[in-house]
């Protein structure tokens, strides 16, 4: 992690001082433990604030759409895939963005750490795959591997797919991971059980739309939830409205979702909102053989068709 931080700073300073980019989007240290914040370095001095650690959960591709300036951005495997999405969807030009690739070994799940260590944490030190947590009269340590995010544990693209340079050597990709074991179990249940499962999943939703706003795919000028004529859903926390929101949000990510987990990282209520997008991601992969953001050339699945696409369900 220290190497990554140093290399990122070095690269950022070089790019800024050479005038190659107007700013570098990366992370700065959080003001409290276990957090980072997206950071926009515009000067060599500011580049000194850039860091890399196990808490870089927010997807920085989210800050690219509609930019006019030339930007460099630090990108994990998933971030890079979302940058590819943006380029394909004409949200940013390839020549406008300098991708500082950061091969990734997974990010830590904040809620899991907080759950495992019930006491308030005042300081976290990270080294050699361990997190040392310090609080008022205690100090314990956790293995990073124990508290990785679920999407990181099953990630098939830890290395950036597209980049201008890498800050460290590529990491080994995980082999033979079944990304959808839990979904398959879920889908084996009855429709009533699945209905109950998903209703229960979103019961705490407060409609803050953090999942939408943290998602790099959600860049519409007017989101469907803000449409008023017609108004597609009520604004209360009535369960059918909440569910409609989550279904439509997920569907809008079809064939575009990289399972980066920014939505879940942003959710203040710890709702596993990826369960919706993963269902679609799984189908897109199985039916159309497409994974988002792997190449600048491949056509997204909903922009193309094949004459022999499956249609057994159509009468």
């Amino acid at each position: 992690m220290e190497t990554r931080t140093e290399k990122i700073r070095e690269t950022a300073k070089r790019l800024l001082s050479e005038g190659k980019v107007d700013l570098v989007i990366g992370y700065r240290a959080g003001t409290i433990p276990l957090r980072t914040a997206p950071y926009f370095a515009r000067t060599v001095e500011e580049a000194e604030n850039l860091i890399w650690n196990s808490h870089c959960r927010i997807n920085l591709a989210n800050f690219l759409p509609r930019r006019k300036d030339r930007v460099a951005v630090t990108a994990k495997g998933c971030d890079a895939r979302n940058i590819v999405n943006h380029i394909i969807e004409n949200q940013i030009r390839r020549d406008q963005v300098y991708i500082i690739g950061v091969p990734c070994e997974g990010m830590v799940e904040l809620d899991l750490v907080l759950e495992k260590e019930g006491r308030p944490i005042q300081e976290v030190i990270e080294s050699n795959g361990k997190l040392t947590l310090k609080g008022r009269d205690f100090s314990t340590s956790l293995d990073r591997a124990e508290v990785l995010r679920q999407n990181c544990l099953t990630c098939a693209h830890r290395n950036p797919t597209v980049y201008d340079e890498l800050v460290v050597d590529q990491v080994a990709e995980l082999e033979g991971v079944d990304r959808y074991v839990d979904l398959k179990e879920l889908l084996a249940q009855s429709d009533a059980e699945r209905y109950a499962y998903f209703q229960n999943l979103v019961k705490d939703c407060i409609r803050c739309y953090a999942c939408r706003d943290a998602c790099p795919l959600c860049y519409c000028h007017v989101c469907f939830v803000d449409e008023t004529m017609p108004q597609w859903l009520g604004k209360s926390i009535d369960p059918p409205d909440v569910m409609t929101y989550h279904l439509l949000r997920a569907f809008h990510c079809t064939g575009r979702c990289t399972d980066c987990g920014a939505c879940e990282a942003a959710c203040p209520m710890n709702i596993k909102v990826r369960q919706f997008t993963r269902l679609l991601e799984k189908d897109v992969k199985e039916l159309y053989g497409y994974e988002a953001g792997l190449s600048l050339e491949a056509k997204p699945p909903l922009t193309v068709y094949r004459p022999d696409d499956p249609q057994e369900f159509i009468k």
Binding site: P239, L247, F313
Partner: protein, 150 residues
């Protein structure tokens, strides 16, 4: 006859049918002109092409209390706009799977290709759809009833 069974026999579902202007809508018309009988449970909404279908429409229909939704368009290759239905097919596939995965009961959501010459097919599919929705019973999922809040 059990009470439950009697109720389901009396149940007349409301089904929203989104029909493509260029084919299935004509199919419905032809079925009518040809005096082909099918039960009157279907409320038709004409759309310019199945490519115009948004998942919002389907969810909105269920939200507003539809017991079933049926989307019907041109056969692959016959789209008035060349390929609207072929793009739509992928959306329908994924949406159909998504809605069933999150607990939509089987028999509520239907898709078909019916041309404007297929009055008979229209009536047949209509009967199948109505029978399936009847079998599924009144819909209680994804339905917005009177707002449930404090």
């Amino acid at each position: 006859m059990t009470e439950e069974k009697k109720q389901s026999e009396e149940f007349e579902p409301k089904i929203v049918a989104f029909l493509c202007n260029w084919c299935s809508y004509g199919g419905a018309d032809l079925a009518g002109v040809s005096r082909l009988q099918y039960p009157p449970n279907i409320r038709v909404i004409r759309i310019p092409c199945t490519g115009r279908m948004s998942p919002k429409f389907i969810l909105e229909a269920f939200r507003r209390g539809a017991d079933g939704v049926w989307v019907s368009g041109c056969h692959p290759g016959d789209c008035h706009y060349i390929a609207g239905n072929l793009y739509a097919r992928r959306k329908f596939t994924l949406l159909n799977n998504l809605l069933h995965s999150v607990g939509l009961e089987p028999g509520r959501l239907h898709f078909s290709w019916v041309s404007s010459a297929e009055g008979e097919k229209f009536a047949t599919v209509a009967k199948t759809v109505i029978a399936a929705v009847k079998a599924a019973g009144p819909n209680s999922r994804f339905v917005k009833l009177r707002v449930e809040v404090a």
